[in-house]
């Protein structure tokens, strides 16, 4: 019982931090539901806390409960005072009231059957969320990456108070640290290494993704349709499975999908907080996995295309998006251990070796070892990708329906802002083809170890496009 109370306090810190940041950005009343607000608070809060811990570690400050809790509480108090002093509403009582009323009163219902269907869908979604929490919290770390990398680094941080030890640096390689730092924060709050409870961050990310997805569909459609597609999201087996493990892929899925959904909201509403939410979520996404950087670039390209097509005068908006997301992720992007620095080193090295090789004669090139399989062509990659998309139960009918929707609703998509969601999906798959065209990485497409996880990052956005396109009307 004491452990559970400690867990609640430990979770309250990032949620309060995120809540204050979200309230500060919104300035006026947020036009989002309580659940969506909670989800945003959790996503922003745990990300900012993790980045704060990482920055402290870069500055040589030892990580333990007091060194993290005290600065966090000071920031929360300062933000709360600023909000109060500027009369920015911290609690939107009307939204809270509306939320509770909506639970007990089902209004605007066309028929009794629809009411029953909605109740069933709410129950099914709630049961899946409950299952995800149970699945994550009931068992200790079991999966390969959890034990080998993420969980182990988390325990090193908890035990030593340092992010960079000989062992953690070797284990992490070029991978970012948000996942192990978040788990380490839970252990610090509990005061004990409890690897089962440490996994609570993943079901929370899952629940947040579900609520943001629901809120995102609900903005444009009726409740029944939003519930139906949210239910389909909760029934994608790979996402649910990952919510019960300590892999970073569910976190990456949450930050990328939620970031794209808010970007789409901003394209429709031009409500600036939506753009800032998107920038924060995608910026934090850079600190989750190495692929966070290309995903962030995809979102930036989509935003620039949108501004070039729709409103060239507002190109500076893309500047504020890039600036916010870069500042958020700067400790990682520009720090000594960053992927960006590694990428730059890698590609400058490749460029240098290319120049050196072409300057030398062919006789200096050493014969390489025989290849296990021929280097992949684009066609090979597309065939393998198609197999993974259409013949595995992980995705149910997702990719079939996406293609059918694109074909049937093509004209409507292309004239509406839905085309930007489509562009993000196309860019994502172009990135996949590019990544898997590397000989070393192609084997992860053949053995399926990486490809399904990679498709998971995009799956909620694909489902979101389906949900909105199928219920398209003239509002877009």
């Amino acid at each position: 019982m004491i452990l559970l109370i400690k867990l609640m306090f430990t979770l309250a810190v990032p949620i309060l931090l995120g809540y204050c940041v979200i309230a500060l950005i919104s300035k006026t009343k947020l036009r989002i539901s309580c659940l969506e607000r909670f989800s945003l608070s959790w996503g922003a809060g745990i990300g900012l806390l993790g980045l704060g811990m990482f920055t402290m570690s870069l500055l040589g400050i030892s990580l333990n409960l007091p060194t993290i809790l005290i600065p966090s509480l000071i920031v929360i108090i300062i933000l709360a005072f600023y909000l109060l002093a500027n009369r920015i509403p911290i609690f939107d009582m009307a939204a809270i009231l509306k939320f509770f009323i909506s639970i007990v009163r089902i209004k605007n219902i066309k028929s009794r059957w629809q009411a029953i269907a909605e109740i069933i869908l709410i129950l099914l979604i709630a049961l899946t969320i409950a299952h995800v929490f149970f699945d994550a919290l009931v068992k200790p770390l079991l999966n390969f990456d959890d034990l080998w990398r993420q969980g182990c680094i988390a325990k090193i941080i908890f035990s030593t108070g340092k992010v960079f030890t000989e062992q953690s640096v070797e284990l992490a390689g070029p991978h970012p640290y948000l996942n192990p730092l978040s788990q380490a924060w839970i252990y610090m709050g509990l005061g004990v290494w409890n690897d089962a409870l440490g996994k609570i961050i993943f079901p929370l990310c899952f629940a947040s993704l579900v609520f943001i997805f629901y809120g995102g569909v609900r903005r444009y459609t009726g409740r029944f349709h939003a519930l139906l597609f949210t239910y389909l999201l909760t029934a994608l087996p790979l996402i649910v499975y990952h919510a019960g493990t300590a892999y970073s892929d569910l976190m990456q899925t949450f930050y990328y999908s939620a970031g794209i959904i808010y970007l789409f909201h901003w394209m429709n509403s031009r409500n600036d907080p939506d753009l800032y939410f998107s920038a924060i979520l995608l910026g934090i996404g850079n600190f989750v996995k190495q692929t966070g950087i290309p995903l962030w670039l995809i979102a930036t390209v989509v935003l620039i295309i949108f501004l070039l097509i729709e409103d060239k005068r507002k190109l500076k908006q893309s500047g504020s998006f890039i600036l916010i997301s870069t500042i958020i992720s700067s400790p990682w992007l520009l720090g000594p251990k960053s992927s960006l620095v590694s990428y730059l080193r890698l590609y400058s090295g490749k460029l240098l070796s290319l120049v050196t090789t072409s300057a030398n004669t062919a006789s200096t090139i050493q014969p390489s070892e025989p290849l296990a399989y021929p280097p992949p062509t684009i066609m090979d990659i597309l065939i393998q990708l198609s197999k993974r998309m259409f013949t595995y139960a992980d995705w149910q009918l997702l990719w079939f329906v996406l293609i059918a929707v694109i074909v049937v609703k093509w004209q409507k998509i292309i004239v509406s802002k839905l085309k930007y969601l489509l562009i993000s999906i196309i860019l994502f798959f172009a990135m996949m083809v590019y990544i898997f065209s590397s000989y070393g990485i192609y084997r992860f497409l053949l053995d399926g170890t990486l490809v399904h996880r990679a498709m998971m990052w995009q799956a909620p956005v694909a489902l979101y496009l389906i949900a909105i396109a199928l219920l398209y009307d003239d509002r877009f």
């Binding site: 200790p140 390969f144 080998w148 079939f400």
Partner: protein, 153 residues
Amino acid sequence: MKKSDDYQKILFSSLNETARKTFILTIILWSLLALNTDYNYFNIFKDNLAKYFGKSIEKKREIAYGKEYYDFLVFAKEKLPKEPVKFGLISSYYAPHLQARIYLVPHIISDHKKKDVSYLLVFKPTQEQSTERYDFSPFAKLDNNRYIMKRTK
């Protein structure tokens, strides 16, 4: 001309109606698949409930790692020095280092052939592993199949 336009309108509206019905049917089919997935979740829930629910975290690790191996890791944690050391691990088990790596943090697992590895954990070795000569001597013993050795040279 007018007749052709009318024909096209009828054709498109009938195609749209067909597409709409096909989508509704597809979503119903998808929902049935989703319900089947829910049933799978329920089975996973039942398994986990029976296996882990209501048990302490130590007991849960014992179930997950296997009792013999978990007892050995607890023993190793007690016997290894307080300050971090490097240790190796040999076993006939598949990938036993995964649990040892995390459970024995801040001690660092490494290849036992490296000279800076001070301790060697031996858990149910194969015949070859138990007869192989190492630069380690006995340090602490849980039983004949589970013991720790310390580097001598």
